[in-house]
């Protein structure tokens, strides 16, 4: 497999370290449902047979964490993005969502 690292360009997968599913966000530890939330976050996986969004670390490269969308049926890479950008966008979206909810 080869990933198009947003910083380094196309590199072989052997430069990267896998972490796992990027679907879940870390729950709020102070929520009343924190225990259940953390159990689901840490242990449960959709593990779907199709496109999988997952975290990879460019360990032998720029040290960026990446969110890679990859088809686990045929190993084709659909997209590669910086994890930081994805996380910030998710936070922005969540904040945005909360605000608009607040408005209605």
């Amino acid at each position: 497999m080869r990933f198009n690292c947003p910083c380094c360009g196309e590199r072989g997968a052997e430069e990267f370290v896998y972490h796992g599913d990027a679907a879940a966000t870390r729950p709020d530890a102070n929520s009343p449902t924190a225990m259940a939330d953390f159990i689901a976050y840490t242990y449960e996986r959709t593990n779907a047979a199709g496109v999988h969004r997952e975290l990879w670390y460019h360990a032998a490269g720029c040290h960026l964490w990446l969110v890679v969308a990859r088809n686990v049926m045929n190993h084709q890479i659909i997209s590669v993005a910086r994890a930081r950008d994805v996380a910030l966008a998710q936070t922005a979206q969540a904040t945005c969502g909360a605000q608009s909810n607040g408005g209605t």
Partner: protein, 993 residues
């Protein structure tokens, strides 16, 4: 034996001016440069080359390429011996030695040929039905017998003396195969300016263009090939790799290829490896790997002298060898024309063409008519006579009449199977093409195309055309503009074909997979027993599992099974291949990474000095750390380590701790960030102070420990254990970039920047004062326990000083830029001579930390919680941190969990061993009584006996209790007393000075 009596007087691509001497089974022969072992043996009239796997049937040379199932030899001798090497792929070199295998005492007379007589018993699945009683005899009798008979050749008993290397090549267009289609594709893509890599498994390019003896542009094809090679060589953007097999297609346009750099030479030239493993990264790829001819399945079709017709043409046209004197050609297709033509050219007497079809095409008949060669149509060869070589064939016509023809060569052709393996490695499913009776590539992986015979374009003109078209298309897809292509003037040879998969009714076994001795009867049996899917068939009969990968067998087998079940062939199964396309030496995959170079070695700054001192080194991950420093007169390691510990406890010792991970953490949110990472608080750490810290995994288990020192308001330096440095740094990056990207934190590893030495012992400050520049006050008032600061040493060398202690003594860690690490340790040793300084290694370090009850690797084993190791008091309740929530699960706060205790032998003379399990004092040794295990032990010089740390159920509540430390794998069973996990200076007075 007359020299090369089967060599034609002229012809072939061999170099007749260079005679090469070689030996087979101890007999000396000669061939010419350019010969393969197979062609040279045939030139010398050697037909019997090996014995088959199961029945030990005599076997000869069947093909002229890597699909060869029969002619396997042991090549070279001694440490260079290489089993199961296909004679058809070995280029001969001066002094080559090869021998036949799987026979005893000799090839011509093989005792194990008795298996052939027992063949009615040794059918597919035979083992599964027998050898079950008595059960005990399997390992004692049956299996040893089976294993004695197993295997073909012998692996060398010595380490492989050759070298291997790996390399990466990038290209726009990878062309796999240098036959007519591949050459055309490479030319066409290369002319566009694209970076082209052409790889061919043979020593010479040209493929069937040369083998078949055809004409292109009115000239012998060999001339067209050589002009193509010349043009490719002139293109700077084209690289041609000969003797290079592309063996695997992997994800993302990556291919594996092996270049046999020196296999054709007696010895690898200086500086050259035996083989080179290439990672080829290609934007586009063209599979032009040609096709493999299929045998026809008839009785005794495995006898030496029965050859593939295409191979017969190859031996004649490429090598100038006559593979026989009197040939019968047996075919179901029109390639018979060129076979007969080639045989005629070579002066071989063609007894007859046996064609299974009613009427071969006009072209075939014309060739036959030219010399009045006999045609027997609507006929088959039903069996072969002769044992060590073909003596004749029985021909049966459609009306049932039989006739015997004397001959010493059978040239058979059941049609051609495109070499589509690489197109299926990534899951591409092939499709069945009736016209050629085989599978051709279906939907291909992105960027891949197929050309020539591999794509099902069987005619020469079609092959050239498809090569040119693929070359253009690939170049275009890679962003280049190819010129219009011009197809050379060439005729398509007729590829007309009518299926004939098997001939029934002959006497003798009819083989489908020659190498694994799978005969028609085995497939019939598999069908009868329900092993009908292609996977079951292969696994039950071992069909296609031999070193030839079943290249000549698979399609025939499928077709025969389809015939038995009445299902169409594509429904019966598919031939999906997995890498490698041809077997690849394990050494090539390993490359340079063997022996000491298996993994990189990391050397700490004191390495050279330690080596001079005669240190014994230990591996810690990739690091090589001094374990202890024996001195003259010390007879065992324990004596040395004891001396080192005593020196630290009573004077001063120096230990290289540079291997600890050091991460510089800066930024406005550095404190907040570290608070999320560590289970204890870091925000409150004052500037200039250091603190012990632990990180948990999200599941609440301890991940790592270390120190955090605050150098400035927004500047921390944290340490990790040596073993976890990489893991922790990666984890911190994940936290920074993914979990909390909003924080302003910058991190960089400074592990390698600093040579860091622990200076420990009551005289440590005294020693340090001799190297620290006087401007810096390191008195206890100014530099108390857990202080940190930036100082300079030895006249201005910047340094970091931390007052930390792992040993329990007054101790410091002094860090200087790594280039001064060597000089500093020398200086410390020199300066501390009168203080009695010594260097100490990881062993003494370990002893002292156990004496103090500090946890380390064996306690930080990924399954312990802070509570388990007595650190629950450190866990913050005021903040969120990784591992906090799940650390509260019932299983992790169960009071029954084993927790950290100290242990000492009741009989103080007894030795403790880690890995022992704890049992109640009077409890029996059963699993139910298992209460934990000893994690670490040491001989404590301070106490004069062995001590240990362990994880014991409810341990801290059991102080004073005596338990068994049970160690049956080392015959140990010791009574130990549970004590607090700190053996010396429990109040920490020595630490603070």
């Amino acid at each position: 034996m007359p020299f090369q009596r089967h060599r034609m007087p002229v012809g072939g691509l061999i170099d007749r001016s260079r005679k090469i001497r070689f030996a087979f089974d101890g007999v000396n022969y000669a061939g010419y440069a350019g010969d393969t072992l197979a062609s040279a043996l045939l030139a010398n009239g050697v037909k019997l080359t090996g014995r088959s796997f199961k029945y030990h049937r005599p076997r000869g040379i069947m093909s002229a390429g890597s699909e060869e199932p029969n002619a396997l030899v042991e090549l070279r001798t001694g440490a260079y011996r290489e089993a199961n090497t296909k004679a058809t792929t070995i280029e001969i070199f001066e002094g080559l030695k090869a021998s036949s295998q799987n026979r005893w005492p000799s090839l011509a007379f093989d005792v194990m040929a008795i298996n052939s007589l027992l063949s009615p018993v040794f059918v597919a699945g035979f083992y599964y039905k027998t050898f079950m009683w008595p059960a005990a005899l399997w390992e004692k009798l049956y299996e040893p017998l089976i294993r004695r008979a197993a295997g073909l050749g012998r692996a060398s008993a010595q380490s492989d003396p050759d070298t291997y290397e790996k390399a990466t090549a990038f290209c726009d267009v990878l062309v796999i195969g240098g036959g007519p289609a591949g050459l055309s594709a490479a030319l066409q893509a290369g002319r566009s300016g694209a970076r082209v890599l052409l790889a061919d498994e043979n020593a010479t390019l040209g493929g069937r263009a040369i083998d078949d003896g055809a004409d292109i542009d009115g000239l012998p094809a060999a001339q067209w090939v050589s002009s193509a090679i010349t043009e490719l060589a002139s293109l700077k953007n084209v690289r041609v790799f000969k003797r290079t097999t592309v063996f695997g297609a992997y994800d993302g346009g990556t291919f594996g290829a092996v270049e046999r750099v020196s296999d054709h030479l007696a010895k690898a030239p200086t500086g050259q490896p035996r083989q080179r493993l290439w990672h080829v990264v290609a934007k586009q790829s063209i599979v032009a790997a040609g096709a493999t001819e299929r045998p026809i399945v008839f009785a005794n079709n495995d006898r030496p002298g029965v050859m593939l017709a295409g191979a017969v043409r190859t031996y004649i046209n490429r090598y100038g060898v006559r593979p026989g004197q009197r040939a019968v050609v047996f075919a179901n297709n029109d390639y018979a024309a060129s076979t007969v033509a080639s045989l005629n050219k070579a002066g071989v007497d063609v007894v007859a063409l046996v064609d299974s079809r009613e009427t071969p095409s006009e072209g075939v008949r014309a060739i036959l008519n030219a010399r009045g060669t006999r045609l027997i149509s609507s006929a088959v060869i039903s069996s072969v006579s002769g044992k060590l070589r073909v003596k004749g064939v029985t021909v049966r016509t459609a009306d049932g009449r039989t006739e015997t023809l004397a001959c010493d060569l059978v040239a058979m052709s059941g049609g051609w199977t495109p070499n589509i393996q690489l197109t299926t490695h990534l899951g591409g499913k092939p499709v069945w093409l009736d016209a050629i009776g085989s599978f051709v590539p279906g939907k291909l992986p992105p960027g891949m195309s197929a050309a020539g015979a591999a794509s099902g374009a069987m005619g020469l003109r079609d092959a050239l055309e498809s090569g040119l078209a693929s070359g253009s298309a690939a170049a275009r897809a890679a962003g280049f503009t190819p010129a219009a292509s011009v197809v050379p003037r060439v005729e398509n040879d007729s590829s007309a074909f009518a299926p004939l998969w098997r001939v029934d009714g002959g006497r003798g076994k009819a083989f489908v997979d020659m190498q694994n001795d799978v005969a028609v009867g085995d497939i019939e049996l598999a069908n009868r027993e329900g092993f009908r899917s292609v996977e079951h068939l292969k696994r039950y009969t071992t069909l296609g599992m031999a070193t030839d990968q079943g290249r000549t067998a698979n399609v025939n087998a499928l077709a025969i099974m389809a015939g038995l079940t009445g299902k169409p062939i594509p429904e019966t199964g598919m031939t999906m291949a997995r890498p490698p396309y041809t077997p690849v030496a394990i050494g090539a995959f390993a490359g340079h990474h063997r022996g000491k170079a298996f993994k990189a070695t990391r050397r700490p700054p004191s390495y050279a000095w330690s080596k001079e001192q005669g240190a014994v080194f230990v591996e810690t991950g990739l690091w090589l750390r001094p374990g202890f420093f024996p001195r003259a007169g010390e007879t065992d390691w324990l004596q040395t380590v004891t001396r080192e510990v005593n020196t630290v406890r009573n004077a001063v010792g120096v230990c290289d701790v540079s291997t600890l991970g050091k991460i510089d953490v800066q930024g406005r949110d550095a404190a907040a960030f570290l608070d999320k990472l560590y289970m204890n608080g870091m925000k409150s750490l004052a500037i200039g102070r250091a603190r012990y810290g632990c990180m948990l995994r999200e599941d609440g288990m301890l991940m790592d420990d270390g120190t955090v020192a605050r150098l400035g308001e927004n500047h921390y330096v944290v340490t990790t254990t040596t073993a976890n440095a990489v893991k922790v740094s990666q984890h911190m990056e994940l936290c920074q970039q993914w979990l909390w990207p909003e924080l302003d934190v910058q991190m960089i590893s400074a592990t390698e920047q600093w040579a860091q030495y622990a200076v420990a012992g009551p005289k440590s400050r005294g020693l340090l004062q001799r190297v620290a520049d006087p401007a810096f006050d390191i008195s206890d008032a100014a530099f108390p326990y857990m202080q940190s600061g930036v100082i300079s040493v030895l006249g201005g060398i910047k340094a970091r000083l931390f007052r930390l202690s792992f040993s329990g003594e007054r101790a410091y860690e002094i860090a200087v830029p790594a280039r001064f690490g060597d000089a500093l340790i020398r200086r410390l040793m020199e300066a501390g001579k009168d203080l009695g300084v010594c260097a100490y290694g990881t062993e003494a370090l370990g002893v002292m930390r156990i004496e103090k009850g500090h946890i380390s690797g064996p306690e930080l084993n990924g399954t312990t919680t802070p509570h388990d190791v007595g650190l629950s008091g450190m866990v913050s309740t005021k903040k969120d941190f990784i591992g906090r929530v799940l650390g509260g699960r019932p299983g992790l706060i169960d009071p029954d969990r084993p927790a950290l205790v100290g242990l000492r032998p009741v009989d103080r003379t007894e030795r403790l061993r880690s890995g022992a399990h704890f049992l109640g004092r009077h409890a029996s040794a059963t699993a139910g009584n298992d209460e934990g295990h000893m994690t670490s032990v040491a001989y404590s010089p301070s106490l004069g006996h062995w001590i240990g740390l362990g994880l014991l159920k409810r341990g801290p509540q059991r102080t004073g209790e005596i338990v068994r430390a049970y160690d049956p794998v080392r015959s140990g069973d010791t009574l130990v007393e549970v004590v607090a996990p700190c053996f010396i200076d429990t109040a920490g007075e020595r630490l603070r000075g």
